[in-house]
Symmetry: D2
Subunit: 427 residues, 4 copies
Amino acid sequence: METNNLSIFNELESEVRSYCRSFPAIFNKAKGYKLWDVEGNEYIDFFSGAGALNYGHNDPKMKAKLVDYILNDGIAHSLDKATAAKAEFLEKFNNVILKPRNMEYKVMFPGPTGTNTVESALKLARKVTGRTDVISFTNGFHGMTIGSLSVTGNSFKRKGAGIPLQHVVTMPYDSFVNDELDTLEYLERFLEDNGSGVEIPAAMILETVQGEGGINAARFEWLQKVESICRRFGILLIVDDVQAGVGRTGTFFSFEKAGITPDIICLSKSIGGYGLPLALTLINPKYDIWEPGEHNGTFRGNNLAFVTATEALTYWETDSFEKSIQEKSDKITEFLVGLTVKYPQIKGTVRGRGFMQGIATEVDGLASDIAKAAFERGLIMETAGPEDEVFKLFPALTIDNEGLEKGFAIIEESIKSLVNEKEPVSS
Amino acid sequence: METNNLSIFNELESEVRSYCRSFPAIFNKAKGYKLWDVEGNEYIDFFSGAGALNYGHNDPKMKAKLVDYILNDGIAHSLDKATAAKAEFLEKFNNVILKPRNMEYKVMFPGPTGTNTVESALKLARKVTGRTDVISFTNGFHGMTIGSLSVTGNSFKRKGAGIPLQHVVTMPYDSFVNDELDTLEYLERFLEDNGSGVEIPAAMILETVQGEGGINAARFEWLQKVESICRRFGILLIVDDVQAGVGRTGTFFSFEKAGITPDIICLSKSIGGYGLPLALTLINPKYDIWEPGEHNGTFRGNNLAFVTATEALTYWETDSFEKSIQEKSDKITEFLVGLTVKYPQIKGTVRGRGFMQGIATEVDGLASDIAKAAFERGLIMETAGPEDEVFKLFPALTIDNEGLEKGFAIIEESIKSLVNEKEPVSS
Amino acid sequence: METNNLSIFNELESEVRSYCRSFPAIFNKAKGYKLWDVEGNEYIDFFSGAGALNYGHNDPKMKAKLVDYILNDGIAHSLDKATAAKAEFLEKFNNVILKPRNMEYKVMFPGPTGTNTVESALKLARKVTGRTDVISFTNGFHGMTIGSLSVTGNSFKRKGAGIPLQHVVTMPYDSFVNDELDTLEYLERFLEDNGSGVEIPAAMILETVQGEGGINAARFEWLQKVESICRRFGILLIVDDVQAGVGRTGTFFSFEKAGITPDIICLSKSIGGYGLPLALTLINPKYDIWEPGEHNGTFRGNNLAFVTATEALTYWETDSFEKSIQEKSDKITEFLVGLTVKYPQIKGTVRGRGFMQGIATEVDGLASDIAKAAFERGLIMETAGPEDEVFKLFPALTIDNEGLEKGFAIIEESIKSLVNEKEPVSS
Amino acid sequence: METNNLSIFNELESEVRSYCRSFPAIFNKAKGYKLWDVEGNEYIDFFSGAGALNYGHNDPKMKAKLVDYILNDGIAHSLDKATAAKAEFLEKFNNVILKPRNMEYKVMFPGPTGTNTVESALKLARKVTGRTDVISFTNGFHGMTIGSLSVTGNSFKRKGAGIPLQHVVTMPYDSFVNDELDTLEYLERFLEDNGSGVEIPAAMILETVQGEGGINAARFEWLQKVESICRRFGILLIVDDVQAGVGRTGTFFSFEKAGITPDIICLSKSIGGYGLPLALTLINPKYDIWEPGEHNGTFRGNNLAFVTATEALTYWETDSFEKSIQEKSDKITEFLVGLTVKYPQIKGTVRGRGFMQGIATEVDGLASDIAKAAFERGLIMETAGPEDEVFKLFPALTIDNEGLEKGFAIIEESIKSLVNEKEPVSS
């Protein structure tokens, strides 16, 4: 295979394939924030596996540990039997992440994907409360299996279910109607009023920054008020930190600065460190009332991922990593704000937090065009939002300034190349 | 970590953990059909990751390819972008598996777990037909997310959902009522009669041999009749070959000898070869009507698994592997039948097919006791069935005669040690 | 209005109207088993308001009481306030019906229609057991509101819901597959097996003779076995006696001869005596755990119906009415069996019990043709069954021999007129 | 029966009975706005059968027609066969109600209760649009069968279902959050945003004044905006006029002054005139796509109700009835406003419109106490709202000034007797 000839995919792979359409090349190597295709072309990765590669590709220390483990015939697949690799991960996760944050949680391994941790969280919240309904929020994204999909807002994805999605009430996320309106006043009235038709739910589930939903960041006060409503009505608070967690917004957990304490936390994507499938469900110990095996799965024990996940936690042993994320986040903000000022034609608004920022543009189709133009110039970047109206910057947290600036340059060039052609549409 | 001290798991891991309770040791190495714990104790593996390790642990050829790939900075995580590793897998899967069997299918990568392929299959069948209901079968097991759980029979698992599981009608699997009754006569009447309350469903989903459900093997005639009913009423036939596929019953697909042609096939577990998370959904091309991205997931592109999966297919390039499975299957049957004759006290009946056989015992609790006694003697073996009434033999397909015989010896000793103590209960 | 001109109905009434299509005349008077249209044509009524007119039209004693009550300004509408008319009904119902049969039940007035008593029964069974599912039977008919419709088998009616109908499992009614197969063996296996996918339901609901479903009469042994299965698993038994009750099968309750004791009984149709809307839900006192007002409705207190219902119970004060029903039932059977023998071309089988009998014909469309031919000759008679394959005789229980024989004659003539034209279709 | 001895009800009637607990007397006669119990005590009726007796009890003209019809052996029960009584009703309804208002609707007789017309409306809207969801509003009340209950807000009633109520999204009714917030801005955002998790529904269903929900009157502008949102998104607008219709708010249909044109209108309660069970579903002709018999029921043809309903329409032949309602409505408003001023201790707010007004009191339990005290003084009056916080005045529309003033006097006395005892609670 020496050319970017996609015919084998066109012939054999299902129509459902998607990113290979936006990024039509055959990739074979990767390192840090860079990717190469089979023709040797280099790409800067501002997508990072949709948040699964926060540490970049093929981190050298993780790689060394991984190869070592495999060469030593370390057990690869173990279901949920106890293994040495798992024990090490648990211990380090407790010491590096939970304890220093005064967090006490039981760790569940629910199957190695984001949707699986969400499904386990919903099950457990229903079991704990004996209630069936869950409150989710507009433009939330939680996964594609029926349980997770039912709390996901996107109508295209929902229709894919082929059945009505139920036991869920969608409430307005922060700033859903406009920036002034307090959407939680509305939510709270529904819970207070016995005639509202909305039952007290088992749980509320939310992302603190909505990735797929359009890089919407909830204000900390809003998150705090959600937490207090949950406490008032005895509702479990589930934070789905699959995408916003593991440093993406600047802290290990995305909700640290909001000062809230979720009852259940969903982690996946970058928790495995190297891009290997892994997921955790963190549970307030008083709610850990599972029966043994009540939720299970074949790939709960992906030991290769335990090995890299353990090594990845080293990044969090001191606060220097966090600091560097925050410094670079500021650069990203500065760059994006600069773009909106410099190119008013894109009618852009900066959204997001940390390494999870983007620009929402009112010009129809422009975000996708920018992403496309950027790819042609060697940058991989995705769009988000119900109308794909946001282009989003998701570099690896480990990217250096040079990488960032190269990426910025490509984005700016891409915009420039478009704003001259494209007339803004008045909204 | 030098002792089998499970305290870290007891402290930090959720109550949901299960196999670490049945097999209380900390495993760290594995090779072929053997496992070792941190104290250096050796175990024979008659469980094989619940069917995810059909090629045994850490197969040397796969291991070499895997290490090579990692050392070369092969791309590890790629979402569903095109990669060289994926292209190679697709090509080899087509050449070694599909073409020689005259099978034409589109390949979907739905997320790397069994439940994910099942969820994708159900979605697609509903989309294709515009219908909502699905027929599943008694004692079927298809996964733990809400869509898959709804077609799973086990009441303990179903209750875990915390919500009513719907859009599903359960019909009796082969021999469900008794061996004489043709369960499909019932099923067909329900579909024929406009007043039956059962709608023509989008699909029927089934395993040809039910693993979790108690090692129930459907007769080939029964499978053929299911297929013909599906054709008669325009119902899609989904075969969930997650556990029974990839050689477990003697052929690559479990339904080959039945001569049926499913519309959708679910594969996972051993498809990755090395125990790494991977799943495929095979789709009759005429039903591949997905919109791009209509079902997606972060870990669709687990390239390490593509590498080992590709190497694993080498086993199927000639028919010698199939032959060896069948020879050893006969030994397993012979051994199990022998046990039921020699130890009438266990009131046992042999069930299953190929490397997926077991004994159902009428003596309450005996199957679990045998598994426990076997573990104490260094054999890992699981129970199955709605009352855990079956102990099942799931060795690696690559096991040699010595390994098989060692395992047999431990099982027989375990039984001997129990039948003297335990009085059979008249059912 | 002096001609049978239906234009006002065609113009103003919804397309949903149906019987006015089968019986295109404008009726204005009625007495006993006779009806007259505005042109003065006389019809014999073998339909009896689908079982709501078991005492015939405008019974003179009921009429006298009714007029008296109205002239005296008796309260007509009372919600569920206590009224004198209701007290009299309760007392007489207890003395004439319940006590002599050693039946102890609480009486609920759930709204004045059949579907309302069924909805209340389902709610209560779910409340009592805390379970959600209900078992219904193939070809059962229980009403058209969403709760009742969900336990109704007919696919045309079910589709009308516009939403999936859930929380229900349909099991095969007696003789559903064929006359030999014990459908309850099948049902019982589903309940016994923890892996069957069928939960222990809140209730089973059934008609002892299915009217709309095709005049299928369950054998008494079958009913007894249903009852014993319900007892074994702690399932409530609901008998929907809306159509088969109030004497239609020969006894006041249709299940008396089977010797079973339902936990909840649904009554409507003829319970009002004069064809006025009324319904009762009879509840085993230990299950009467409703909260006040938990189920309600505006027309629970239709006092005009209480007045006629009370008078109607007089028929049951001695056993002479029951005897006369049974004698005439035998005549109906004899007549119908005679028809099947005399006209083998209709390929007919006699079905049913008491005043709820009919002939199922294998000749496609013949039952409807016979009903049509009969109407042209002055007899009103309906068809039933999932393919309208049964013509059914539903005369008033008070009909005299002359009336019966006139009706018989018309039916035979109608058949004669058709069998010469129509070739039987081999099934 | 000569005393108000309720023992027969306590013994035989289900615990579900409710109004006989609030109004512990045995009623036997009624005339206009008065009721008498068996002891001869007289009561003023400010309840009017929850809106089923808008013309008062036993209206002399209706009574005469009714008795005449019965004495002449008019057909009482006719299913949906054509009858002379039904033809007359249809014609007069068209001439007196529809035509003068330029309304063109097909008339469906869905079974004789409010819940039945609502169930038929929901079915039809789903059939017309092919969608499953329906939007209902907070504190709406539409009935007690599963379909209607699913669009009803009250949590106590909803729990009675025993199953989750689905395919419904509850949106905030006018003034739900507070008087300033435009609740439709929320609703519209949910419909506009593809990621909101709320599908475009088949229909919106609402009452223009919510009776059971607490006498909440929507502003006309709000109703107009609902209509325009429905038009914008192709959603059917269903007005449930079961309680607010037939003059209760001052015009025949409650929405006339708002100037909106519902696609489907539900009528029951007072449409029968005399308190006899009857219901209509009015359908925009272009949506009348029912198949014959797709929704049916035994008591669609309650001819006694057709006779009184036809006579009742005479009230609407001129505009004098409407005028008199409006004059008396003003008196009711004046009286209630006066109360809130004169008795600030009750912390009351006047709510409602026309003959459907009441006072919401912030003093916990006071509304019920006032209703109780009024009953002791000979007035029948009910409470409403999710916390029973409203006492409501529902006199017959035909009441004279003397009757109104007597009622007012009793209410004021009742309040006086309580405000001295009861300390207001600060909310």
